[in-house]
Symmetry: none
Subunit: 196 residues, 4 copies
DNA sequence: CATGAATGAGAATTCATTCAT
DNA sequence: TATGAATGAATTCTCATTCAT
């Protein structure tokens, strides 16, 4: 039931944007009265917060396997691609977590965002290991992490916000993945760097 | 006057998000009555639309010079960096243009988004020229354009939506630029590819 | 159990005012479900009604002794002081009984308010006896009863509604009692009226 | 218009109690939309606050003349009677000012309540002068002021809250005034104290 | 005896918008 | 050109109350 609400809210948020979804719309969708929502969630924000957490949990469970890849370059590629896949598979969660306009001062300071920090640190560690192997040279880890995360994020964000409408819509996911792999192929060549 | 309104709307949109800005707040800020706004704009959406157009005009005028760079790799780098700079210098416009949640069904179909299409075509042409010179091999132009645009976009978007808060705030713009250049250095080496 | 509810309601009414106390708050306080309350009381008003009755019973049991004082002047003084003491000792009851905004159309017409009438008659009888002894001359009993009751009531009411905040808070009860005795000393001199 | 709202609110507050009056009810009464109210008052509290101020202004303007009476005993009587008259003539104001359940933390700390303090000080000064003339002996001024104010207040409060329903309703105002004068005649004899 | 689940009614408030002036 | 006045519709949220279990 709680999950019925979350389900419904999630899909409405994705359709109309968080701000345009009223409690009443959520209630209508599950065919309950608005007051009922308040039995399960203190607030509209509480719904967002719950979805936020669910989203992070989902993302982490998806990335768990990738984190165990030994080769850092392969791991990094897998993480980036896994991130993009998450965005494409779960656009509602992704929007909330990484694209929504700040209304989350509460969220940002709380619990689950720590996962974000942790994940970011994992990314940086992986980059460090890549550098130890001669990859991604000549940059600070900070810049590299922002650049790589940003690349994956941006590709996803253009799709989710429908800014890439000049590309054929039904090929977009494939193009997105191909675009990311293109970046990776230059940044993280799987074969040992030839000239070395 | 019209521009007074736009000015004020622009800054409010950036601060609070489009949805959270009321006509009244805009009016208050310029010390006119809400009704006055309607003398200049049919709609709240019309304001957004106008800003949208202004934004594109600004972006194009900024990129004009870069478009004239002869070497396609250099041109491509300049365009990407110019794009990021635009995002960082004019975050209000950028948000509206590339990040705002769809309220633009109207906008997307209309006039100024053509500029977007045009710019995108220019990007693709440049990529084509790069490929002609042996760069950015082994990808479709569609994927490459999405990947490169996405990379620049994502770096900007993470900053503007404050998702990169685990990096030191005052260094963010510098890190963003460094991150992008890091990507470029692998994708678009300035020196002829050494091993060739 | 019924009394657990009443207890809890009484203290909440006093803190927040009758209107601001929800059934839920009462239920929370005793750690039962709101529905449970309805097993014991038909209504929110029914709770008020019950407290009302309890209050009157308490007041009467307190005044019983005073009623047996033989000397009417002393009895009158004792009644007035007892009334004030009740207000100060049991402000929750007092508020409900004598200060609450009318929500009592039901109550006023019913059962327990008869106690009020009876008590009032007792007051008037006592005044009559005082007049027979030469005290409280030159007034109708009606006016005298209203004046004396009003005096005690007003002193209490100013305290309970926190309107006497210009006097030092911790001395208020003492000042209230002293104020009332001051009135009594002029109205009901214990010594035979000197000039007579 | 502002005053139309205040008028309407005032009478509704008196009828139903502050807590039971909704903005919508006020709006309905003046046959405007609820939103209109917000053009003139920020808040429901703002309406209360405005009425509060109006009430105090009214009371002071009424008492101004009495304050100028030279003989302190006569002045004190006039003030007390003027106070009761105010309560009976303007019960809506009176209720708000002196009987309403505390919801006024804002009000109490603000502007107009100072008038209350000032008035209270005036009362105390007058009592002091009475004591200088041999009246109201043997009490602290604090207690005396609380007692006298309380007496007038209580008589009023019993009427306004309909607790004196055992007296004939149409004679209540007269009885109230007679009751107060009865108290005065003992506390503040106009003729020099006979036995002196 | 107790409650979890549910809701209709209503609260305060905000907003985009209109229109007569 | 500008606005003061007004509002219908919508928002979030609370509450007393019911009822099947």
């Amino acid at each position: 039931m709680r999950s019925r609400i979350l389900e419904s809210a999630k899909s409405l948020f994705a359709e109309d944007g968080f701000q345009n979804v009223s409690i009443r719309k959520i209630a209508d969708k599950i065919e309950y009265s608005p007051a009922t929502i308040y039995l399960y969630f203190k607030d509209k924000d509480a719904i967002l917060f719950a979805l936020h957490n669910e989203g992070f949990r989902t993302l982490f469970s998806r990335q768990g396997e990738n984190m165990r890849i030994v080769d850092p370059a392969k791991r990094l590629r897998a993480l980036l691609e896994g991130y993009l896949d998450f965005a494409l598979d779960e656009p509602e969660y992704y929007d909330l977590m990484f694209m929504l306009f700040t209304p989350l001062p509460k969220i940002l300071k709380t619990s689950e965002w720590r996962y974000g920090r942790r994940a970011f640190r994992a990314l940086q560690t992986t980059i460090q290991e890549c550098q130890n192997k001669g990859l991604l040279k000549n940059t600070s880890i900070e810049a590299a992490s922002l650049g790589l995360w940003g690349a994956a994020h941006g590709i996803a964000a253009l799709l989710l916000r429908q800014r890439a409408s000049m590309l054929p819509e039904d090929e977009l996911p494939a193009l997105a993945r191909e675009g990311l792999r293109m970046l990776e192929s230059h940044l993280l060549p799987l074969a040992p760097i030839p000239s070395a």
